[in-house]
Amino acid sequence: MRRPRCVVAAIALVFACIQAEPSLAQTLTGTVSSVAEGAMEGVLVSAQKVGAPITVTVVSDARGRFRFPDGRLSPGHYTLRIRATGYDLAGPKTVELGAGPADIAIKLTKTANLAAQLTNTEWLMSMPGTAEQKLPLMECMSCHTLQRIVRSTFNTEQFVPVLERMARYANNTIQARVQMRVAPVKINTAVVAKLAAFLATINLSNGPVWNYELKTLPRPNGRATHVVITEYDLPRPTIAPHDVRTDRDGNVWYSDFVENFLGELDPGTSALKEYPIPVLKPGFPTGSLDLEPDADGNLWLAMMFQAGLARFDMKSRTFQVFPVDGAANDNAMQQSMVMPRSDDVDGKVWTNDVARHAIMRVDLKTGKYQRIDPFQFLPKGSSHAPYGMAADAKNNLYFMDFGDENIGRIDAATGAATIFPTPTANSRPRRTMLDAQGRLWFAEFAANKLAMFDTKAETFKEWDVPTSYSYPYDVFSDKHGELWSAGMASDRVLRFDPQSGRSVEYLLPRPANIRRVFVDNSTDPVTFWAGNNHGAEILRLEPLD
């Protein structure tokens, strides 16, 4: 048994030496300028080797200079891309990297199509209307950008059937692949009519141009330019990486919100493996959402409309599925969340029943699900929706009430629920993580805030996200106590220090629909990972400080 290990070690060593060979590593540096501004700070410069799935992005500094990290680009022909709202790339649009370092001068020109460059946040900043009128647009961003709305020419009457049609789409729909719900959807026609009337005031139904000023966020500056961003293109546009996390070996795992696969990406080679998840309900929407490790490090997936949970054994690379049992598994059954972190305590894994706004937990020995209504003592008909989950060391569950404004706790032993309303009303808490100090960090999606619930003191703290209309989806507290967050609107990653209140927002190279965020604490500085749910790519963000 020893000999093969030596052989493997030797091969690994040779491979490591090849990887580290300096002659393969090139340096690309340069400047960015325009006639309008001269040297430009905060311009994202992206380089993608022709035919390769990896794009590396850096940001120009206050002198307009940029530098790709040594060794990050290998010799070859590269396509260049920029992101600077209000500008287009005049040239050069390609660069050949050879044996030596290259230094280029990038020129930008004013864009003739500013609207095409606006983020969802910038559209929300620009469009007229009250906060209440704009709020439903949060739901639209789950499937597409707001560009699709503001560029449409529908009037109020024409919008109504469009909205009613889209209300029947499954959550796990993207533009590249629409999936219909099987269960009928009850539509609130009054809400639809009100929304249709508003949308017809912000689109192009009244003329060829928008009757409001297009507002933009400032370009990155200072600390926000100290970053390297790597995009890993996935091979099909129908891959929708929802939750992303790394393992001990540095490989990246993701749940695919649209296709029924678990993905594993080697960021060193960009090699991709896809593990097909068993289809439990043919004809129902496919794709999974929550991706969480259990006490043994195996990965669990919430199977959405496939109605159940899947455990992926990291050693055998095989799935064991736990379908929702019995009559409860009807056409509306949906599991978006799974929480197996403390399954070793009592052999039970938490999940949710989206359609019935309830919590469920499966007994791993029997495969039987138990349903718990944590809101049974609250007024009936309220808009509750258990969503992000965390479990403590005793497998007590903490969950986000995404439909309302509460954090909930369910006692693992008794099943009793305790509800903690957030200080901010209508906050719609979304995803969460529990740290070693018993602090529950979470994003208040509708309130545009990050928040912390101290599970010991049972007290809250909340912080405003610096940019309005960011709508944070998730937050991660890293080893230094800094918070990392992102969402579906601003194309930015927020880094926030709750102690000092200092924040930095890193602009991403492309429109990005980010859901779960993950921070790899094994690097220094830490490394941020997320999936671009609508862009079929994995994002790695490396701060340089």
Binding site: K134, P136, P379, G381, G415, T418, N426, A447
Partner: protein
């Protein structure tokens, strides 16, 4: 109308006003909740809300006290008193008997001294129920 009932209704209006003023900035930012789906939230399904004051034994307001409304059949709602010692717990399900809701309060450095449930003089089961909580410094 009995003076006690008048007092209770006036206090409830004061609580609502306070909540509205304190929450106005937030409401402007967060707006109302509206989605494509049903909004079946209706006061017809609500039992009465609970509210009250958390004070110390000298009558001074105690802010940031943890107030727990425990349901006899299981479950609880936990909230916090504001800077003037006022707390509010939104209504429970209509099926829950208000008499089966127990209010308690706690804060580091204090112990609970007394809980005073004001009588509902009007007899209207939808009227808010005032329960005041007294904390004693340890």
């Amino acid at each position: 109308m009995m003076p006690g009932v008048q007092r209770q209704k006036a206090l409830w209006r004061l609580v609502l006003l306070g909540v509205a003023v304190l929450g106005s900035v937030t409401a402007a930012r967060a707006g109302g909740q509206m989605t494509f789906g049903d909004n079946t939230n209706t006061s017809a399904n609500d039992g009465p809300p609970f509210f009250g004051f958390v004070r110390d034994t000298d009558g001074a307001a105690v802010g940031d006290a943890r107030v727990t409304a425990t349901v006899k059949s299981g479950g609880a709602v936990v909230t916090t008193s504001n800077s003037i010692g006022v707390y509010k717990v939104a209504g429970f399900a209509k099926s829950i008997n208000p008499d089966d809701i127990a209010i308690s309060c706690a804060k580091d450095g204090y112990k609970q001294a007394n809980v005073v449930r004001r009588p509902n003089g009007s007899g209207d089961l939808k009227d808010p129920i005032e329960v005041d909580c007294v904390l004693q410094k340890e």
